[in-house]
């Protein structure tokens, strides 16, 4: 038998198996978590206060009034107790995933910034996002790739910063891109086994950013445990780690 025929048989077999698997996954997973991904043109909220800059921070040291009025750190709520994880319900998870989807074009896209920022100065992102922070109802998640310096090269604001009247013109904004949804669950070897990590871990080195005290519903039931990957295995495929023999 010739090589092309072998390939075809394999291919058809693979396609059938994939189709069954996908259909199964969709029915078993999707009904559990009806996450709605907004279309890329749906605007995200931008009603939050402007983030401070390093310049603001420096001025604060010289100006007592500012120090009391504007110091975000002073306004922050106390850090939640690690043992107070609460119940993680499916509804909470679904809400969290939907919330995440709102300012991401697809799962894995850098989220847009839901508040105004200083457009030129080096924005002082780390004041709130360094360790994570909660002020009243607003939560600033902790950065999960701490070695990166130029935050605004990937994260842009959700609402335009240009003052004044926008120009008239027929340029259309509609776009039919439909982004990849967030994975629902990791794989478990048996009921009760720790699930594998169902998403890439590249630039997501700090699990607590999404699963820790300042996470909204995606949080872990055991936030006091810090060495996550001791039990939860990342996926070589997601992390683009091919077998060495195949590396170029």
């Amino acid at each position: 038998m010739s090589a092309p025929l072998d390939a075809r048989v394999l291919h058809i077999g693979a396609a059938v198996a994939m189709a069954v698997a996908v259909a199964g996954l969709v029915t078993s997973v999707r009904t559990e978590l009806p996450v709605r991904r907004p279309s890329p043109v749906e605007a995200t909220a931008g009603e939050l206060p402007r983030a401070p800059t390093w310049a603001d921070e420096q001025r604060r040291h010289h100006d007592n009034r500012l120090r009391h009025a504007g110091n975000l750190r002073a306004m922050a709520s106390a850090r939640p107790d690690l043992r107070d994880a609460g119940v993680v319900t499916d509804a909470q998870r679904a809400e969290a995933l939907e919330r995440r989807a709102r300012n991401r074009a697809y799962d894995g896209a850098p989220p847009t910034i839901p508040h105004p920022i200083a457009q030129r100065d080096w924005p002082n992102c780390m004041t709130c996002h360094g360790e994570g922070m909660r002020i009243a109802a607003q939560t600033a998640p902790a950065i999960c790739h701490t070695t990166m310096q130029s935050c605004v090269q990937c994260h842009v604001v959700s609402n335009g910063p240009v003052p004044g009247a926008p120009p008239a013109g027929a340029l259309t904004e509609t776009n039919t891109f439909a982004g990849l949804d967030a994975p629902a669950h990791g794989e478990r070897a048996w009921p009760g086994a720790p699930p594998t990590v169902p998403h890439p871990t590249l630039m997501r080195a700090r699990c607590e950013s999404c699963h820790g005290a300042y996470a909204l519903g995606l949080r872990t039931s055991h936030p006091w445990r810090q060495s996550c990957t001791q039990c939860h295995g990342p996926s070589a495929a997601f992390d683009q780690r091919p077998p060495l023999a195949e590396s170029p």
């Binding site: 996954l25 609402n159 120009p167 904004e173």
Partner: protein
């Protein structure tokens, strides 16, 4: 069925589909349809998403992205972890590049303008219209492309024009973008393109930015540099700029200079090195010679002695440089201190600031000169490096040579031996290639916009992959007039209804990015390859097919240039068994990998100027390879540093540095002297402000793709004019007021942003050019560099008038 069974099944199917792809890999490449899966490890499956590699569609950095495809559509993008350029990181444009395919107003049918309206026609009709225009007047036909042409697309256009029509009227928009860097490299080293590479970003101690807002324009490279600081490394960043930008916020020193002050600064550093005696004598004596312009500046000038150089540069004392450039004498000395210290590795980077410059060739030469004079050359992290703005400005415009005076591989149309080599490879009769360079960009559009009886001898232009109705300078002069002339015919291949498309007589819908196979070359000589992953919308087809189809129609109509020496069609394609494949017929285009066939032919040009390329298959496996790629010990090996012993395979054994393409044929590079000169137009009483134009992080080129990506458009929805705070106070302008900018060529009203994304110094305003509704190039100057012919978009004189204060809602 249990869910875990399903998951196991999914894993199993993923594994078996991998296996089947391995089996497929044994089959000779069968082209682009059905979606050609990368047979290498680059493809991986996660559930039902198939991932594959491609270089990003946007800038010249050449990040590799992983494209996730499901159900025939791109659904996700990830930074490619194995990519040496970006190591898994992308910028906001790169992360959203997949959305560029899905704007709702994609062009899907060929359209011909009849009675002032664009009406749908069939592909055979459209191809026939073009072929008959060419047949009627081959000399009046010009091809205008860009650094966004893939390598095979550019190669097909190049061969069609120079090897087929025997006409050199082909030029890319890279003329507006890279030409001065090219002439700088040519006249300094005798051969184009950076000798060094992005590895320098990992090794430099000091980085000097010559008018380059790297944080916004090359964000991934900027992060590669600046993130070293979080690893505890010391990186000194010197931002030499004409306005404060996001880059300035990271800089140790911000040196604000007056427009054209870079010429004085380069001379100032050189003069101090000579005065102090801290130049690298051994490097200069062993590897350099000195050169100056003739009375009429040209590419190679004339030799001068070291003593003459010393005399001419000496007047540029720090104090005089302060007067000319506005940078303090203390800072000029600080720069001289750095360049005097050879224990530090200094990397100079530049892009449009030095290239879009009426003295662009001069300043490029001078920055190379400062590095060679000081011996900051040849070590990793130590040297001058030009950055590019388009994905294949290097790979296509410069290497394939889709420029009026070039042949592929760095060969020249004016050189009889080079023409002979090209005619040999193309198998066309001797004398087919015209020995005179064709019209450069500004000339081409000037002649297209001039009536035939007044010398406007270009009557048809075919534009592919660019948007000249927005990107040319002085649009009222260079673009608008032809649109009112009945005998001028504009053909445009594009993906969205850009300003150029709307003005076209014939519109051809194109496939873009991963809707076709492709190859590009980034600014560190890295050639990359990708396979088609999704189908183009409607009847959109790849540009390379369009060019070949027109060539075939001309062949059928009897144009003699479309035949080779043996009477066969110029673009003959063969499949693995040697049978001819009619790739010009859309039904058979995918029967063969056209890219591979064209690349393998093009590759034969690459050895003549030591720009050796590897076989197509090597690029399929790799995340790009930097040329020269030479086979050693059975493996194809790339080159990090040209001209450097132990790195470049073309350097003779035992030599530390060898400039083997030296214009003086003695292995020496040239250190040039140029005086400081003022720009051609400067602010005066009537037009008191400098106007600088440029880009912003979110938008790329004319915004035709990025303005259709909601995340990018929302982050930067329209153009604006940055006004200095004091100027605004003086003129009574408030943030958000509509102001009118006027130059001697045109005017434009747009919102004022006081100290916006950038903060210009007093007397300067800045406008980004991405917004097709606010076309700043109606105001810019078409004055250009005498050698590179590249226009200066960075400086002209304007005035500012308060037009309207918007109603403020309480």
């Amino acid at each position: 069925m249990e869910r875990r069974d399903l998951l196991k099944l999914a894993a199993l199917s993923a594994a078996s589909s991998l296996a089947s792809r391995r089996a497929l890999a044994q089959v000779p490449s069968q082209g682009a349809q059905p979606p050609a899966l990368d047979p290498s490890i680059a493809a991986r499956t996660g559930a039902d998403v198939v991932w594959n590699k491609a270089p990003c569609r946007f800038c010249g950095t050449g990040c590799t992205v992983q494209v996730g495809v499901r159900g025939g559509r791109v659904v996700a993008i990830a930074g490619d972890r194995l990519a040496p350029v970006n190591r898994g990181l992308l910028c906001v444009k790169g992360y959203h590049v997949g959305l560029a395919l899905y704007g709702t107003d994609r062009l899907t049918r060929p359209m011909l303008k009849r009675n002032g309206r664009h009406e749908p026609i069939t592909w055979p009709e459209a191809i026939d219209v073009i072929a008959r225009r060419v047949m009627a007047n081959p000399r009046g036909f010009a091809f205008y492309g860009s650094g966004q042409w893939t390598i095979p697309e550019g190669y097909a256009a190049q061969k069609f024009m120079k090897g087929g029509l025997g006409s050199n009227h082909i030029d890319p928009n890279a003329r507006l973008c890279m030409a001065s860097a090219v002439t700088g490299y040519m006249s300094t080293f005798g051969v184009d393109e950076p000798y060094n590479c992005f590895d320098d970003l990992d090794h430099a101690d000091v980085v000097v930015l010559w008018g380059n807002n790297m944080a916004e324009m090359h964000p991934v490279l900027f992060s590669r540099l600046i993130d070293r600081r979080t690893r505890g490394e010391r990186v000194t960043l010197i931002d030499m700029t004409t306005r404060r930008t996001r880059t300035s916020a990271f800089a140790d020193h911000v040196l604000l200079f007056k427009p054209h002050g870079d010429l004085a600064l380069a001379n100032g550093i050189a003069a101090e090195l000579l005065r102090r005696g801290t130049l690298d004598r051994s490097f200069v004596e062993s590897f350099c010679a000195f050169r100056k312009d003739k009375a009429t500046p040209d590419l190679n000038g004339e030799a001068m002695t070291f003593d003459e150089y010393r005399q001419r540069v000496a007047p540029y004392t720090p104090e005089r440089v302060e007067q000319l450039s506005g940078v303090s004498a203390a800072d000029v000395r600080m720069l001289a201190d750095l360049f005097s210290d050879r224990s530090k590795k200094i990397l100079s980077l530049w892009c449009m600031g030095m290239n879009q410059h009426t003295r662009g060739t001069a300043i490029n030469r001078m920055v190379h000169g400062v590095h060679m004079l000081s011996g900051h050359f040849g070590r990793p992290g130590d040297g001058p490096q030009s950055l590019t703005g388009q994905p294949s400005a290097c790979g296509t415009a410069r290497e394939v040579g889709t420029i009026a005076h070039l042949l592929p591989g760095g060969l020249l149309v004016a050189n009889a031996e080079h023409r002979r080599i090209a005619e040999e490879i193309w198998n066309v009769p001797a004398g087919r290639i015209h020995p005179t360079p064709g019209y450069h960009t500004v000339q081409m559009w000037e002649r297209f916009s001039t009536a035939h009886d007044r010398g406007g001898d270009i009557d048809t232009i075919w534009v592919q992959v660019t948007n000249p109705a927005q990107s040319l300078p002085n649009l009222e002069k260079l673009f608008a007039p032809s649109r009112a002339m009945a005998d001028k015919f504009l053909i445009v291949s594009d993906v969205y209804p850009t300003a150029t498309v709307r003005a076209a007589d014939l519109i051809l819908p194109s496939a873009m990015w991963v809707e076709k196979n492709g190859m590009t070359g980034n600014s560190e000589r890295r050639t990359q390859q990708w396979f088609k992953m999704v189908n183009p919308p409607g009847e959109a087809r790849p540009d390379v097919w369009q060019t070949i189809a027109v060539a075939r129609r001309l062949f059928e109509l009897g144009h003699p240039g479309m035949r080779d020496r043996d009477g066969a069609f110029l673009f003959r394609m063969r499949n693995a068994s040697g049978a001819e494949v009619p790739a010009w017929d859309w039904a058979h285009f995918a029967d063969v990998n056209v890219d591979e066939q064209l690349f393998e032919e093009y590759r034969r040009f690459s050895t003549h100027k030591h720009k050796n390329l590897a076989p197509y298959g090597e690029y399929v496996r790799a995340r790009g390879l930097r040329w020269p790629v030479v086979q050693r010990d059975g493996a194809w090996r790339e080159t990090r540093y040209r001209f450097v012993g132990g790195e470049d395979p073309h350097v003779a054994p035992g030599r530390r540095v060898q400039f083997y393409h030296s214009v003086t044929h003695d292995d020496r590079a040239q250190i040039w002297f140029h005086d400081h000169v003022n720009p051609p137009e400067m602010p005066d009483a009537q037009y008191p402000f400098w106007l600088c134009t440029g880009r912003v992080l979110e938008h790329w080129h004319s915004g035709s793709m990025t303005m259709r990506i909601p995340q990018l458009r929302r982050a930067m929805p329209n153009a604006y004019v940055e006004v200095n705070r004091d100027d605004a106070a003086r003129l009574g302008i408030r943030d958000g007021d509509t102001v009118t900018l006027e130059s001697r060529r045109g005017s434009l009203s747009l919102p004022a942003w006081i100290d916006g994304r950038g903060a210009p110094p007093p007397g300067t305003v800045f406008v980004p050019w991405f917004d097709e509704r606010l076309m700043i190039n109606n105001l810019t100057l078409d004055a250009h560099d005498p050698i590179s012919k590249q226009p200066d978009y960075k400086k002209c004189a304007v005035r500012l008038v308060l037009a309207r204060r918007p109603e403020r809602t309480p």
